[in-house]
Amino acid sequence: MGLLTELRDSISRAAATLFSEQDPKRIGIYGPPNAGKTTLANRIARDWTGDAVGPESHIPHETRRARRKENVEIERDGGTVEIDIVDTPGVTTKVDYTEFLEHDMEKDDAVRRSREATEGVAEAMHWLREDVDGVIYVLDSTEDPFTQVNTMLIGIIESQDLPVLILANKIDLEDSSIQRIRNAYPQHETIPLSALEGDNMDEVYDKIAEYFG
């Protein structure tokens, strides 16, 4: 009996270390539409794996399906941190297809885009409750960070005790304000960057390793 329990224990211990080594942490990239989540995911993927995750666009809801890039190995200080990155659709509480018409889209396409967007956001919320081990929250630093969606999402992430890194993106733009984001979410560390230009990516990778390694 004792032997069996011991055996079972050591097997489960071995399994635990095995899985913790084999299963990289799954890091969800969340944030409002158009913040630059895919641009960041692509940059991380290109820097460490050589290929991209998905298309980027100035039209909101470009990403309408969560996309995973597995086994991204980030090298820091001689060691490597292995993560899966999940690029998610921008979260919102409303989708109005008529807004897509302003981007020169036909009604059929706009309706389809909005339907896909709503499915994608629902899926992203589900992932957040069930399937991610950490969150990179991307904000466009030229926009007001103090929105209900941002506050709710950060509250949801906090309530699940997930490690979260807030990224203040688009610092290459003139209207960018990092301080505004720091003031809105003082309980978290905010890292400035330009995912498009690649500015300050070293610090971003340092922090990814620190938070999710």
């Binding site: 979260v91 919102t92 509480t93 409303k94 989708v95 109005d96 297809y97 309706v111 909005s114 339907r115 709503t118 499915e119 956001v121 629902a122 919320m125 589900h126 957040l128 409750r129 103090f146 209900q148 506050t151 709710m152 509250g155 949801i156 906090e158 309530s159 699940q160 005790d161 003082p186 309980q187």
Partner: protein, 129 residues
């Protein structure tokens, strides 16, 4: 809310739901009450807001119900959690799920527009349609 006579003029109905009424309901029952009200064009005010988990499910269910030319989703506003210094302490004291719940306003996205929001004031414009 069933006990209210249906407004046949084109006014805006406001449902103020007490904490007592929500108490004991499951998350899905609360979400149903909110979305049924909002989909009827009403503004729903909750004396006590939702938990983060309920908010997450509310977003998810809202998304599945959006339908072109019929329902565009919701606008939701509540006071922000106060900075972590005091809020965190209080939160820790009261345990995770019972973080301070705050007055929350929810309405149809095409009828309610937030004009201003800060720690102590939310100002919104409600239109008939």
């Amino acid at each position: 809310m069933p006990e209210v006579k249906s407004p046949d003029d084109d006014g805006v109905q406001i449902d103020m739901i007490s904490a007592e009424r929500m108490e004991g309901l499951t998350s899905m029952e609360k979400i149903r009450i909110i979305l049924d009200g909002v989909r009827d064009g009403n503004i729903v005010i909750l004396e006590e807001g939702l938990t983060p988990d309920e908010e997450s499910r509310l977003i998810e269910v809202t998304m599945t119900e959006i339908s072109p030319d019929e329902f565009n989703g919701i606008e939701i506003e509540s006071y922000p959690q106060s900075g972590d210094d005091e809020g965190g302490f209080l939160g820790r004291l009261m345990g995770k799920e019972s973080t301070p719940k705050k007055l929350t306003v929810i309405g149809p996205a095409n009828q309610i527009e937030t004009l201003h929001k800060d720690e102590t004031l939310i100002s919104a414009l409600v239109s008939r349609n």
